[in-house]
């Protein structure tokens, strides 16, 4: 599976994780080119439906990144994220999609290195899991 190049989607909140991704860029931290960021205002505005849609149509992995607990720009938005996505993982497991294809993590605006680490780890993990089987079903 060495030539498998996963396609990954990441939802980043405007205030922390998107800014952390920007910082990684400014710091020229290198990472695999598989992750495509969608900017949202808060991680808690990400509907689980987006994750299900992406994974059911063949995207290999989805990241949801927010502010650290306690640092949410919208006070408690990420508390909802923290509850919502483990539940989404459970649903994935129940319908036979490997729940490791969805990862929730916290990256602050000051954590360019953490962003690099999360991206690098997640891409490696997805490479290990191999292509999303639903990709074949769809096409």
């Amino acid at each position: 599976m060495s030539d498998f190049n996963p396609t990954i989607l990441a939802f980043c909140c405007n205030w922390c994780s998107y800014a952390g991704a920007d910082l990684a860029g400014v710091s020229r931290l290198q990472m695999p080119p598989n992750v495509h960021v969608i900017r949202v205002m808060c991680s808690a505005s990400v509907k689980p439906e987006y994750v299900f849609k992406a994974l059911s149509q063949g995207i290999d992995g989805v990241l949801v990144l927010g502010c650290h607990i306690g640092d949410c720009h919208y006070l408690t938005g990420n508390h909802r994220t923290a509850k919502r996505f483990p539940l989404a993982q459970k649903i994935l497991r129940n319908i036979g999609i490997d729940e490791r294809r969805l990862r929730l993590d916290w990256v602050s605006a000051a954590e360019g290195e953490k962003f690099q680490q999360v991206i690098t780890e997640f891409v490696a993990e997805i490479k290990k899991l191999g292509p999303n089987p639903l990709r074949e079903v769809r096409l």
Binding site: N5, T7, L9, N14, W15, Y18, A19, A21, D22, A24, G25, V26, R28, L29, Q30, M31, P32, P33, N34, H36, V37, I38, R39, V40, M41, C42, A44, S45, V46, K47, P48, Y50, K53, A54, Q57, G58, I59, G70, D71, C72, H73, Y74, L75, T76, G77, R80, R84, A109, Q116, R135, L139
Partner: protein
């Protein structure tokens, strides 16, 4: 319905993007995307030349939506939006694609993969752009008054500045007197200014003005509202007072960390904190042999921060002791001396010349304080000498950090602003938006932000006052159209959105006799929490609506999965 005519502009950003991403290839790709009427590239899109070229393309090609693939929206979006507006395109029909921070800079050694990713990102941006809708910015009035919480030197500086600008200002101080921590520090270094004079200087500005309302022995017990229109309850001696203000400055300051018995504090006589030494010096009690230990309770695992002011406080007090009694001995055990800037570094040199001794210790072998012959002895491992040293002392001074005030968490909760792991308030951006909270209309200054010297507190107080006065003087604030709205057709008034909203911006109201959710746009901050909480897809957020995000996902699936097959 007319098909959108999207213009796509790929930026070289000099070499920043173009040295990795094949810009021309991305332009070619963009031309083939749905609804793209025009695609081109610019050397620097943000230059006047680049902006002019975009405007000309909009006119020549009758474009009605614009996508720029360049750097980050966090810095450049306002510029490109304004540019669209100049060319007659609603500024919210603009979409930004980040192919620098999120692509060329982080995939510098993989030009082909970076080019492919840039194409995917552009396709996603174009997909969203096609579904954007023109928006108009709302406006709301600003109450021409300000609230300053905390009457220490930072709050005093802020309040006196606001008052001098003719702005009605409420200054709330929990103690019975203004001045805060500075009341306990008689002299401020390195210039050796009398604190009394400093406090008086700012107090006088308040006393002379009918615009100033000083609330002593008071606290802000509740707060509601948003920029331009806050309502605070000030709890004072006899009765509560409600005030309405347009902006708020937080200057709640800090407190000295009191050691938990370290170095014999509390058990050995003569062991005290730097602030306790200040009180003794104020009473004219000059120690004969003083040893000061720096970084007690800071710069160590669990509390990594440097309090910044304590090195200079120790140097100042060593000078005061040695000036008062040239035969006295003053030793400072430090881990690094942080005498930043010119004046403080001069004071450091001064102190050495007056006879103060500086020794460096490490965290692995911290000093110990013992009783000896009715006095004290401090034993430590000197890193420079590489040996154990023992110093006799009658006074051991522990330099402890400034920590946030005890009730900081409640204050943060009331203001709905974030604090860091130590409890210091987090400003919006250290460089782009200093002294501002991300929450508009609330500002921060002084040691509540991080440990600050007196001159820094004053400068920050004045800066916060200057920023707070902007909306007050403008009289109006713009509401960014990223607010949520509810579709009454779909809403079943379950109230999930009401619970999800951190700002109490959503109410269930009667519409044509039916209960429906309604968003108060002036209170909505555009977090979108209600959108994901809505079970009936009734809630949407402007600029981030469900169709737009779904289209982005579709574009990624189409371009990354289907094309690569």
């Amino acid at each position: 319905m007319l098909m959108p005519r999207i213009g796509v502009f790929i930026c070289h950003c000099g070499h920043n993007i173009a040295s990795v991403v094949d810009v021309e290839k991305v332009v070619e790709f963009a031309r083939g995307l749905p609804n793209v009427a025009f695609a081109s590239h610019n050397l620097y899109s943000c230059s006047e030349e680049g902006l002019g070229a975009i405007r000309k393309s909009i006119e020549d090609n009758k474009l009605d939506r614009v996508v720029v693939a360049a750097c980050t929206p966090r810095t450049h979006e306002p510029l490109f939006r304004r540019n669209c507006e100049r060319a007659g395109v609603n500024k919210y029909l603009f979409e930004f694609v980040n192919i620098r921070e999120h692509c060329s800079w982080i995939h510098a050694k993989e030009p082909e993969a970076a080019t492919r990713k840039a194409m995917n990102l552009v396709a996603m941006g174009v997909a969203k752009a096609g579904l954007l809708e023109p928006q108009s910015e709302g406006e709301s009035n600003v109450i021409p008054a300000a609230l300053v919480i905390g009457g220490g030197i930072a709050g005093l500086a802020a309040a006196s500045s606001l008052v001098s600008q003719g702005i009605e200002t409420h200054l709330v101080e929990k103690q019975a007197a203004l001045g805060g921590m500075l009341n306990e520090i008689p002299v401020v270094g390195p210039e050796m200014i009398e604190s009394k004079d400093l406090i008086e200087n700012y107090k006088r500005a308040l006393e002379c003005s009918p615009k100033a309302h000083v609330h002593l022995s008071s606290r802000v017990s509740s707060l509601s509202g948003f920029i331009g229109n806050f309502e605070a309850t000030i709890q004072g001696g006899r009765c509560d007072e409600k005030v309405k203000v347009g902006a708020i400055i937080v200057a709640t300051g800090g407190r000295e960390f009191v050691p938990n018995g370290e170095y014999g504090y509390g058990s050995l006589p003569g062991v005290m904190t730097q602030l306790e030494l200040e009180r003794r010096l104020a009473r004219g009690e000059i120690p004969k042999k003083v040893v000061m230990i720096q970084c007690v309770g800071s710069r160590q695992p669990g509390r990594e921060l440097c309090s910044r002011v304590c090195c200079n406080a120790s140097i100042k007090n060593a000078i005061r002791i040695l000036d008062a009694d040239p035969n006295a001995e003053a030793s400072i055990l430090h881990r690094d001396i942080m005498s930043y800037g010119t004046a403080a570094e001069r004071a450091y040199k001064d102190a050495s010349e007056k006879g103060a001794k500086f020794y460096r210790y490490g965290l692995e072998k911290i000093p110990s304080v013992k009783r000896k012959n009715g006095g004290l002895s401090v034993e430590f491992y000197d890193e420079t000498l590489d040996e154990l040293v023992a110093l006799d002392a009658d006074t051991v001074v522990l330099s402890t950090p400034i920590l946030p005030v005890e009730d900081v968490k409640e204050i943060a909760k009331m203001l709905k602003v974030p604090v860091d792991k130590y409890g210091f308030f987090l400003e919006a951006h250290v460089k782009l938006r200093p002294v501002e909270f991300a929450t508009e209309g609330i500002f921060i200054c002084g040691s509540a932000r991080w440990p600050s010297s007196v001159s820094e507190c004053i400068a920050q107080g004045l800066a916060a006052a200057a920023k707070a006065s902007i909306p007050i003087r403008e009289g109006k604030v713009v509401i960014e159209p990223i607010t949520a709205y509810s579709d009454p057709e779909k809403c079943i008034a379950c109230g999930n959105c009401v619970l999800a909203c951190p700002y109490e911006a959503i109410e269930i109201v009667l519409m044509d006799g039916k209960r429906k959710a309604r968003v108060n746009e002036a209170k909505c901050k555009g977090c979108g929490n209600c959108v994901a909480a809505c079970h009936n897809d009734a809630m949407e957020q402007k600029g981030f609506d469900t169709r737009q995000l779904a289209a982005m996902i579709d574009a990624l699936i189409k371009n990354a999965l289907e094309v690569s097959q």
